[in-house]
């Protein structure tokens, strides 16, 4: 197969071709690095990659395939090149989290989800750029410079997993792992025309995921198609004794995804997630699409979601404040020079090591945790989060799944997203509810929409939300959308 033909394969298809010896892993890895050579200087999706090491591993994979009589025993992702976000540890490799604070930090062990990818035979070829510690939605808040949108370099790819999304989008990896606290997998997937799955909280171990907001952080796949998303999810999920909040959840049956139909399904659209309370544009098209295939679609009220952004930012900032307290220049990471006294060392290190957005979140976190505001802000947000969970439980007693836009807009222009931090936070309205409730949600491409300035059409993602452990349902619905609703196979 030619390089172009190889790059058109999904990760799943590539794995099949490798074991059938129709494509070598070496050619697949070479094809990906050719793309990296061509695009990386413009896009900056990666913070680090290791070409020779990856090619060597690919060669070894090909030798094993050639000498194995029964390839059915080979691990599922054998020889498939993938990327992982830079807040997921890979032993012996840098894990900077997009921060000066960890600019020289070498991971001493491998994150469980990355270990699972490696055990499944994947070749991890590099670590992708991100907003510092996952705080941001544009990948402009990386100490190492912004990632640009692969389809339009004047725009952002979304964030915080913008590097993972950009790499998959330009063919710099066949799939990638991102992490999602308040939308960091789904929103960049939406902006880059990809599938992004935020799995059920706890279904993928957080061991080795550098903590931002521990009660909401989860790793998940960013892929070109729904089948790859489900396949990668199946290979990274599972209970882990090293993460107390992890739990075994059902894997997704890929064959059931193919035969899924929305006929007879009940689909809800939370009114509060519509910008003006009305369905418009692409979401109307999505509602019409489901209705035309026999589903019942209705808009319903979830009033507590009006407070979702406030609840999310109070809780995530409070948790971030606690998690980032460990960066003090003593045990790992950056240490400021010229501080002869310990408290000065702490302050100088943190002041020089953290970027502006991280400082903003730390200030907000300490504000809501301070004695004067603890009950009115933090405790109240904790209680309000329970109301969000109840509202979703009630919704899923009526509907099979919910839909809404992943983002209120297509990818914005560089430099525009940080001009008004509050507006940027409010733009997370559609992604933070699933984070608060710990439920799974997937963003699936649903055509294109004109940018606000009217200059071009860009991908638009439809978000599908399901109950806890409802990956089968939402990925089935996403696959149905991807197939364009064609008759059951």
């Amino acid at each position: 197969m030619t390089r172009e033909e190889i790059l058109k394969l999904s990760a799943y298809e590539l794995s099949q071709k490798i074991r059938e010896q129709k494509v070598s892993s070496f050619d697949a890895v070479s094809a990906v690095f050719k793309n990296i050579d061509e695009h990386e200087s413009n896009v900056h999706a990666y913070l680090s990659f290791w070409k020779e090491e990856a090619l060597q591993k690919a060669k070894e994979c090909d030798e094993i395939v050639a000498s194995t009589p029964d390839v059915s025993g080979l691990p599922p992702l054998f020889g498939v090149p993938v990327a992982v976000k830079d807040n997921l540890l890979l032993s012996g490799k840098k894990a900077t989290c997009g921060s000066r604070m960890l600019s020289d930090y070498i991971a001493p062990f491998t994150a469980t989800c990355v270990e699972k990818l490696l055990s499944a035979g994947a070749i991890v070829i590099g670590k992708t750029n991100m907003d510092e510690f996952g705080m941001g939605s544009s990948t402009e808040h990386s100490y190492f410079g912004a990632t640009l949108h692969p389809m339009d370099p004047t725009r952002v790819p979304g964030g915080s997993s913008g590097g993972s999304a950009a790499a998959v989008s330009y063919g710099g990896a066949f799939a990638a792992l991102g992490t999602d606290t308040g939308g960091s997998i789904r929103q960049p997937a939406s902006f880059c025309g990809l599938v992004g799955l935020r799995p059920t909280y706890g279904s993928v171990s957080r061991h080795g995921l550098v903590a931002f907001s521990s009660s909401m952080d989860v790793a998940g796949p960013i892929t070109r198609g729904t089948r790859d998303a489900a396949w990668l999810f199946n290979n990274v999920t599972g209970a882990d004794p090293k993460d107390q909040t992890s739990a075994g959840v059902p894997k997704v049956e890929l064959s059931e995804m193919e035969s899924y139909s929305v006929s007879g399904k009940r689909i809800g659209i939370p009114k509060e997630l519509l910008s003006d309370g009305n369905i418009s544009g692409q979401l109307q098209k999505a509602a019409d699409f489901f209705t035309s295939h026999g589903a019942l679609v209705e808009v319903f009220d979830m009033p507590v979601l009006e407070y979702a952004v406030a609840i999310y930012y109070i809780l995530s900032s409070a948790e971030a404040t606690a998690n980032l307290a460990r960066y003090d220049g003593v045990r790992f990471g950056y240490r400021a020079g010229g501080a002869p006294e310990i408290s000065e060392l702490y302050t100088k290190t943190r002041t020089e090591g953290f970027g502006r957005e991280v400082k903003r979140r730390i200030l907000l976190g300490n504000y809501v945790l301070s004695t004067e505001h603890f009950n009115d802000c933090y405790r109240q947000a904790e209680r309000a989060r329970k109301l969000v969970c109840r509202a979703f439980s009630e919704a899923f007693s009526k509907y099979d799944f919910l839909i809404c836009p992943t983002s209120s807009d297509v990818a914005p222009l560089l430099g525009t997203i940080d001009q008004d931090p509050l507006s940027t936070y409010i733009a997370d309205l559609c992604t933070v509810p699933a984070s608060l409730a710990g439920i799974p949600a997937v963003s699936v491409p649903f055509g294109k929409q004109m940018s606000r300035d009217g200059s071009c059409e860009l991908p638009w993602g439809l978000q599908i939300l399901g109950p806890r452990c409802g990956e089968q349902e939402i990925l089935g619905a996403a696959r149905f959308v991807e197939r364009g609703g064609e008759d059951r196979v």
Binding site: I314, R335, A339, K359, R360, N366, R383, L387, L422, Y425
Partner: protein
């Protein structure tokens, strides 16, 4: 925010272990003056029906067992400064 937001933000900055330049203060304190009132909207929400302790899921527990950590020396040696298997810090007393 209390009656003197500037004073309160100075206190929060100290609690955060940060030292901000005048320019950073101007930007971040101004941002906070808009962000905090938006967050404080949640006080309007009636949460009297929620008992946090009743609705919290019990944590999965495991036996507290001692095990060797094969990476202890790697962790200490990758600290900014270490000696004899220990983290080095500036003189405290």
């Amino acid at each position: 925010m209390d009656r003197n937001p500037e004073t309160e933000m100075e206190k929060i900055t100290r609690l955060s272990g940060l030292s901000l330049s005048e320019e950073e203060k101007k930007i971040l304190f101004s941002d906070m003056s808009r962000i905090v009132p938006y967050m404080e909207r949640i006080s309007k929400l009636d949460t009297s029906s929620v008992d946090l302790f009743d609705e919290s899921e019990p944590a999965a527990l495991r036996e507290d067992e001692e095990e060797e950590s094969p990476i202890a020396s790697t962790i200490v040696s990758s600290a900014p400064e270490s000696s004899d298997g220990m983290f080095s810090v500036p003189r405290i007393v």
